[in-house]
């Protein structure tokens, strides 16, 4: 039996920084030093601290090595694994205290986290069903099939207060209860793994790190609503997730945890994976089902709701990956355990993908009701380079911004909606003082213009017009009337679009108009971009008093916009300047300013 386990993160983040090569190097080096039988190397899912990848954890010591390189592997093997001397220089420095090495759970990044959906990510090998079973995997399914009636299962999920983690926050138990009584020759369970919000990657990490938790939960949902067939609709852009899911499904079939007559209960359930081709609209439940049916991914009007007429016209229950991942622990630990976490109307935990201007980019799972300040300043490690926090964006292209003055807002579904924001799937993009809020709104609109499927006019044409107006404002041609029209158009699109994509597409504009109207006004009335982002609205100037005439800027300018004699103040020709900023970087006397 192995005396030591080396866990190498095989999530997408660490894989892209070559954790695959590190895994190989460990196997090779262990072989070379004759330790292959004593030390076991394991691929796991995401540990969450993606900013410090590739990440390697060595047990039983629990040493957390960060930013590991292939060249470091022989040292870890000969020092740590052979001689037991932990290579302190490679440890995640926050775990190194003066006289001892702290446990990972004591670091700022992990200590406030409560891992429910991510419970196994980074701990088990997702490609081995035994490791999932070791952590009580499939016990919940067994319990449901042998001890509970379908009605009792639905009651437990309802009592737990679990709400949809994909964005809308619809109570999961109610969704199941609406589907269960509808009689039909075939019912379906669908898992929405078409994670499309820019910056969100929690569903991917769960599928990569713990695919069985989703499979188990789908079988439980199938039992609860009377469905025997399931589909997982996952983006083709997630190759690692797709591969691990397929391995997991095969292993579950081999063990008889998918298939006929599970646990001798007479209940049959099987699953198939369907790949999405990358359309954002396919994350909308009706468009997703249309796509599974083999048609072009376009939404259809509701009602009829999927609970009555969903996939192939049959009653269908559709939940998101993270929602499913919460189900097995709820069954095993009871609804009271789950509802003891979180706020009054938002129970449990939520996974957030931290991104943007923040030190610890990565994946965190926190109880609902944690404030934005705790997430950003404590868990996230704050804003780098001493910059000031300006706003956080949640919910991607469907969400809005939380401004700095609301940083103490406890994060849950209802609080976010009350400030014109949205939980969304959990992308949390942090922005500092160098971010232009009009530009951000424009960025998201550009995304929705691209991704609108074109079926309904308000979304197809409306988002295009919104984007044009924002373009006009950021280029310095906007009028105050444009601002009013912008807002009106937003409400029109919201009220008249067919599906969630169009109904929420104006949110980034509305939210920034609400909290950062002064920035819009600065763009329109003063023709200035306060954050110096919108190029049309800024100009570079040399302060004659400070310029020593060193010619450094002149030499750096790629378009020869700067003229002047040596030791004489230089001048920038604004009609030629392309505002690239090269001169500012070269100037040693702070003589160049952006206006």
């Amino acid at each position: 039996m192995a005396r030591s386990h080396v866990l190498v993160c095989g999530g997408t983040g660490c894989t892209s920084s070559n954790s695959g090569l590190i895994l190989e190097a460990f196997n090779k080096e262990l072989e070379k030093q004759g330790l292959a039988d004593e030390v076991k190397v394991v691929t796991t899912g995401c540990f969450g601290l993606c900013a410090l990848g590739p990440v390697v954890i060595v047990y039983p010591e629990g040493s957390f090595y960060s930013s590991v390189k292939v060249e470091d592997v022989p040292e870890i093997v000969s020092e740590h694994l052979l001689k037991g001397r932990i290579v302190t220089r490679l440890l995640y420095q926050e775990t190194v205290a003066e006289d001892q090495i702290k446990s990972l759970n004591e670091t700022d990044f992990y200590k406030k986290q409560v891992r429910v959906a991510l419970r196994n990510c980074g701990i088990i090998n997702p490609e081995r069903i035994d490791e999932y079973i070791a952590y009580d995997g499939y016990q919940a399914l067994a319990k449901c099939l042998t001890e509970y009636t379908p009605e009792q299962v639905i009651q437990i999920v309802t009592d737990s207060g679990l709400r949809g983690r994909g964005g809308g926050g619809f109570p999961t138990g109610r969704k199941w209860a609406l589907t269960a009584p509808n009689n039909a020759p075939q019912k379906y369970v669908v898992c929405n793994a078409d994670e499309g919000d820019p910056g969100a990657f929690m569903d991917r990490s769960i599928l990569e790190g713990d695919p069985h938790s989703v499979i188990e939960a789908m079988a439980i949902a199938g039992y609860a609503v009377g469905a025997t067939k399931g589909y997982i609709y996952v983006r083709a852009e997630y190759p690692i997730a797709v591969k691990r899911l397929q391995i997991a499904i095969e292993q579950a079939r081999e063990y008889g945890l998918l298939g006929k007559n599970l646990f001798n209960s007479g209940f049959d359930f099987d699953l198939e994976v369907r790949l999405g081709a990358g359309a954002f609209v396919c994350g909308e439940e009706t468009a997703l089902m249309t796509s599974i049916e083999g048609n072009r991914g376009e939404p259809r009007p509701r009602p009829p709701y999927p609970a009555r007429k969903g996939l192939f016209g049959m009653p269908t229950v559709e939940n998101n990956v993270e929602t499913f991942a919460n189900v097995p622990p709820i069954i095993l630990n009871g609804p009271e355990w789950f509802s003891s976490m979180g706020t009054e109307k938002s129970k449990g935990t939520k996974v957030f993908a931290l991104g943007g201007k923040i030190k610890h980019t990565g994946l965190v799972e926190i109880p609902m009701g944690t404030t934005l300040r705790e997430i950003i300043e404590e868990i996230g490690g704050g804003i780098p380079n001493g910059k000031r926090f300006k706003a956080a964006q949640t919910g991607g292209p469907s969400g809005g911004c939380i401004p700095a003055e609301l940083i103490d807002t406890p994060i849950d579904y209802d609080n976010l909606i009350s400030i014109g924001c949205m939980m969304g799937s959990g992308g949390l993009i942090v922005m500092d003082e160098d971010t232009c809020m009009v530009d951000i709104a424009k960025f998201f609109l550009e995304f929705t213009v691209d991704e609108s499927c074109g079926k309904c006019t308000p979304c197809r044409v409306g988002t295009k017009r919104l984007h044009e107006k924002l373009e006009k404002i950021t280029s310095g041609n906007g009028t105050m009337q444009d601002l009013d029209e912008l807002e009106q158009l937003c409400y029109y699109i919201k009220e008249n679009s067919l599906c969630g994509l169009g109904q929420t597409a104006p949110n980034p504009v509305l939210s920034t108009l609400r909290f950062f109207k002064d920035e819009y006004i600065a763009h329109v009335r003063d023709k200035k971009c306060p954050a110096h982002v919108c190029k049309s609205l800024m100009s570079y100037e040399i302060i004659a008093d400070k310029c020593r005439g060193c010619t450094a800027c002149k030499r750096a300018c790629p378009v020869n916009a700067i003229s002047g004699e040596v030791k004489q103040p230089h001048v920038i020709d604004k009609s030629v300047c392309i505002k690239c900023g090269a001169c500012i970087q070269k100037c040693k006397f702070d003589a160049i300013v952006i206006k």
Partner: protein
């Protein structure tokens, strides 16, 4: 999979192999000196003997780990057993043959094997 018992058998077996992962601060620690001196005196077979013996007896809550040189090279292989709230016991000149007895008497029954401890070996 037809019964819960079947599933639990797989779970218990897999759990045994994975118990070292996670926070083990409450566990009994068996620390083997694995510096150059320890290795050359034969610490590696000792380390592996501990791992295998502990698995054979299905002992939960015991962690086997290594450490460097503690400065008494002539007594290597040195093994220290640290149980929370109890005084550390240091064994000297341990061989793989002695491991089974240490596991049985000390780790299972809680009685240190006095004749193998460093105090007695030094005499």
């Amino acid at each position: 999979m037809k019964t819960l018992a079947e599933l639990q058998a797989i779970r218990d077996k897999a759990r045994m192999q994975m118990k070292m992962r996670g926070d083990n601060r409450e566990a009994v620690r068996v620390v083997v000196g694995m510096a150059t001196c320890g290795i050359s005196a034969g610490a590696r077979p000792v380390l592996n003997a501990f791992v295998n013996e502990i698995e054979k007896r299905h002992l939960e809550n015991v962690v086997v780990t290594q450490t460097g040189c503690i400065g008494m090279c002539q007594f290597e292989p040195i093994v220290e057993v640290m149980a929370p709230g109890k005084e550390k016991v240091t064994y000297a000149k341990v061989t793989a043959d002695k491991v089974a007895r240490i596991v049985a008497e000390h780790l299972v029954n809680g009685n240190p094997v006095m004749e193998y401890t460093i105090g007695n070996v030094m005499k």
